[in-house]
């Protein structure tokens, strides 16, 4: 019954977007979640050149149908944005990215030691393993590796604040060491998928369990190597950081023109201390793209020939019980509520995205709500300079206001610059070189910082 309703709704959406062209060409990145695999018995698809119109790589000849195995049945045909890669089989696909990054930043008003920051500390790499072990069953693990990603205590010093030779306190020395962070670790089961004879995927249902980014914020859901800038906007990371452990149900309708997702998580991805809080994190999100799915890639390397847009909203609800450090119930019950809304627009290389997030946390003891708001906007324009590379000027502006119920702290951020994209036969953004100006203004705290970032992103 629900399938029929979804199908009808999808048909309506399709009718409403009758002026839309066929589904846009595949984005230059792997979507999340991983596409449903072909049946296990089917051979791997023959390597295809990237058909992205943004790419001008000489196409390889496509084998004649008679030279390959028969195409899969429409129902089991993968609805895939993936492109062929060297390290891909049904069982295992290996891909990843390397992001060396050099940062130079001057922070006025800080302690002299902290006034200048420079170096390549934020360099990181991602290694992604994915695949399909049975029809409808897929998996994905995504490790983030960095040479200075984990902070450890390396020693203890005595602190002589009075300068009288006596020890008033102990201070810890810390240093950053190589480490591994787990970004994704999940198994996905797809019980429902219906693809019409015309190739339209009318409905798809995914059940995912493991570690993943919660379905709430558009940019938080976007993977590290699909971002427009080296890092997510502070307006997003002020509310959510990293991924979370839990389960998620996702329903896609009418070729992902309509997506709704919901799940329950541990809440470890919230950007607040949850040491002594216990309770589930409920998350939900929907996205509507009447003219065709735009995916989670930030920019328009595909250069959509017709305007396309997507809007959506998310909601997080986190009821928690609070315990003291000894583990006793404090009788305090807290309720966190976050809402987000976003809009995205692409047209012929132009990309514009904005997002708004608001958080309010209340409890039954303090009579003191914690209210925070953040929003950002970012844009870019992809210019094909030659057949071999794109130039993409880009910019973003973000704002956060925390603790608005007492003493609001307003902070503003901007990142602006230019990126060069070099394609290969597999993807349009095989290499991206970004030169960016970054600044932040903490207006209520009287501090600002400015600097530059150079990042090279290599995808494989």
């Amino acid at each position: 019954m629900s399938l029929r309703i979804s199908t009808l709704l999808g048909a309506g959406l399709l009718l409403a977007s009758s002026t839309a062209a066929a589904a846009p060409p595949p984005p230059p990145d792997v979507p999340d979640p991983a596409p449903e695999p072909a049946a296990e018995a089917e051979p791997p698809p023959a390597a295809q050149p990237d058909r992205d119109p943004a790419q001008t790589v000489e196409p390889e000849p496509v084998p004649a149908p008679s030279e390959t195995t028969p195409p899969p049945e429409p129902e089991s045909e993968p609805k895939s944005d993936e492109k062929p890669r060297p390290f891909k089989t049904d069982y295992l696909t290996i891909e990843g990215y390397i992001q060396p990054q050099y940062t130079y930043r001057v922070r006025r008003g800080a302690r002299p030691r902290d006034q200048q920051e420079f170096g390549a500390q934020q360099t990181r790499a991602g290694l992604i393993f994915g695949g399909n072990v049975l029809p409808r069953w897929s998996y994905r693990t995504h490790f983030v590796v960095g040479s200075q990603i984990t902070e450890v205590v390396s020693g203890i010093d005595s602190a002589d604040y009075e300068g009288d030779g006596s020890t008033e306190a102990l201070s810890t020395n810390t240093r950053l060491i190589p480490g591994v962070d787990l970004e994704q670790l999940w198994v996905n089961y797809r019980p429902v998928q219906y693809v019409s004879d015309s190739g339209v995927e009318w409905v798809r249902l995914d059940l995912k369990l493991g570690q993943m980014r919660v379905p709430f914020s558009k940019q938080n859901k976007t993977q590290n190597n699909s971002l427009l800038f080296p890092r997510r906007n502070a307006a997003v990371t002020s509310f959510l950081v990293g991924s979370d452990l839990g389960g998620e149900v996702t329903l896609n309708v009418a070729d992902e023109r309509f997506t709704i997702a919901g799940g329950v998580f541990n809440g470890t991805g919230l950007a607040v201390n949850r040491d002594n809080r216990r309770g589930p994190l409920w998350a939900g999100r929907f996205e509507v793209a009447p003219l065709g799915s735009l995916g989670n890639y930030e920019s328009d390397l595909e250069r959509h020939e017709k305007p396309a847009f997507a809007v959506g909203s998310g909601l997080l609800y986190s009821p928690t019980r609070l315990f003291d450090s000894a583990g006793n119930d404090t009788l305090t019950r807290s309720r966190g509520l976050l809402v987000s809304a976003f809009a995205k627009f692409v047209y012929y290389g132009f990309y514009l995205q904005g997002e708004f997030i608001r958080s309010q946390v209340t409890d039954n003891l303090s009579s003191r709500p914690f209210i925070s708001t953040g929003s950002y906007g970012q844009l870019s324009f992809m210019i094909p300079k030659t057949e071999k590379f794109f130039v993409g000027p880009s910019g973003s502006f973000g704002w956060t206001a925390s603790e608005q119920a007492v003493n609001p702290l307003n902070r503003y951020y901007t990142t602006d610059g230019i990126s060069l994209f070099l394609p290969n036969e597999h993807r349009a953004d095989a290499i991206r070189v970004s030169l960016l100006y970054q600044a932040e203004w903490f207006v209520d705290e009287g501090q600002s910082a400015q600097g530059g970032v150079m990042q090279v992103q290599l995808k494989f």
Partner: protein, 417 residues
């Protein structure tokens, strides 16, 4: 399918509109937490409780004339009260009160001591008790009650003096490394007996102001020339404006009942211990000796308006500091009266000092200072929108010939006329 979308949209609209949050009404009591039992000294100031950004609540007991103080921190979310910090310096001065708080710290000024109380582990430390260079004891003669906080450092401005110094120094104190990072000698350098009558904060300059009294030797054989000045300082401890004040020569150190406050019109105000009011801006001053029926107790700042608070005709009353530095006519402070009415009943107290946490009922608790709630020398702490913190006194008992009183701290709804 439309239903989830509907709920999401409803939640979005509610949140965007700021819905779902109910603040305390003026005069309404929130959930009070049992602070502890303390010696029932009538002269105890029971200065305002404050809170840091994490939600930890700080309480302190002491008196302007008592060389003794005790501070404690209540962990957020009912995590109990910990630490009884008793750091004090100088037997001739008493407690001034909380200076400021930030993310997880609170700082108080007691006697000549500047003390930090950690809101995470209740650890308390005296800051700059000794000069790092000379190793002589430092006295905080005046402290601006404002901490300038940036993500990388926390500083405040103070007037410090070592016994061997002829005049004090205006310093910027780095509260993290516990050193002064800038210093400037008090001018004139031939000043003697420099004391502070009171201090106040000014957010616009990220520092504040102080009223100082000092003596300058006159002609040989003549009495020294006594000068009283209001001095405005910036965040670098530099004096930006000096306003000479006459008629206050007889006042001594710590003559203000509490911290001074500066309102939106640029006029600072403080209540002197003889019940008169001093107001000044960067150019002139007023010494208001006739306040009509109002018996001033202190100056409060609420939503950028400075209010002189006190009693008039047996009722809590309040008078705004006007644009010309004079006081507007006093009006009854209805919020204080409503709070007094709310206390004339049984108040539920959460005792989270130890586990298991329990709830108690106190019959007719009282404001521990003054006749009416919040009619106190220092401005109530802005805890949330239209919400402050208040201390109440519950049951009393005797033990070993000593009288004790049970105290609790909690949020209250507040409004100013």
């Amino acid at each position: 399918m439309a239903r989830p979308i509907g709920w999401l949209s409803l939640g979005l609209v509610a949140l965007l509109g700021g819905g779902c949050i109910e603040y305390l009404e003026p005069g309404e009591l929130g959930q009070f937490r049992y602070l502890g039992d303390y010696v029932a000294e009538e002269t105890f100031l029971f200065t305002r409780p404050v809170a840091d950004r994490n939600g930890a609540v700080y309480a302190i007991m002491g008196d302007r004339d008592l060389a003794q103080t005790e501070a404690t921190v209540g962990y957020p979310a009912g995590g109990g009260w910990r630490g009884r910090c008793a750091v004090h310096q100088n037997v001739d001065r008493g407690l001034h009160g909380w200076l400021d708080t930030e993310v997880d710290r609170g700082w108080y000024w007691s006697g000549d001591a500047l003390v930090e109380l950690d809101g995470l582990n209740s650890d308390c430390r005296q800051i700059l008790s000794r000069d790092p260079n000379s190793q002589t004891q430092l006295a905080f003669k005046a402290v601006i009650p404002r901490v300038k906080w940036t993500p990388s450092r926390r500083t405040l401005v103070a007037l410090v003096k070592a016994p061997s110094d002829p005049v004090p120094f205006q310093v910027v104190v780095d509260l993290d490394i516990r050193r002064y990072t800038r210093f400037e000698e008090f001018i004139p350098r031939n000043a003697d007996n420099v004391v502070s009558l009171g201090t106040g904060r000014e957010d616009a300059t990220e520092a504040g102001f102080m009223v100082v009294r000092y003596e300058v030797d006159g002609d040989e054989g003549a009495d020294p020339d006594v000068r009283v000045e209001a001095r405005f300082l910036n965040a670098d401890a530099e004096v930006t404006d000096i306003v000479p004040i006459s008629g206050l020569d007889a006042f001594e150190e710590d003559a203000m009942t509490g911290y001074m406050q500066i309102g939106e019109h640029g006029w600072a105000a403080g209540v002197l211990n003889d019940g008169t009011v001093l107001t000044f801006d960067r150019n002139s001053f007023r010494h208001i000796t006739d306040t009509g029926p109002l018996e001033p107790v202190g100056v409060h700042l609420w939503e950028d308006t400075a209010w002189v608070v006190g009693m008039a005709n047996g009722r809590p009353s309040i008078a705004a500091v006007g644009a010309n530095g004079n006081l507007d006519g006093p009006v009854v402070w209805a919020a204080s009266e409503r709070l007094a009415g709310a206390l004339r009943t049984n108040v539920v107290i959460q005792d989270d000092r130890f586990t298991p946490i329990r709830t108690l009922s106190w019959a007719n608790p009282e404001a521990p200072f003054g006749e009416f709630p919040l009619v106190v020398p220092n401005s109530p702490w802005q805890y949330a929108i239209d919400t402050s913190l208040m201390m109440i006194a519950g049951p009393t008992y005797s033990s070993g010939g000593q009288s004790f009183v049970s105290l609790a701290v909690g949020p209250v709804g507040l409004s100013y006329p």
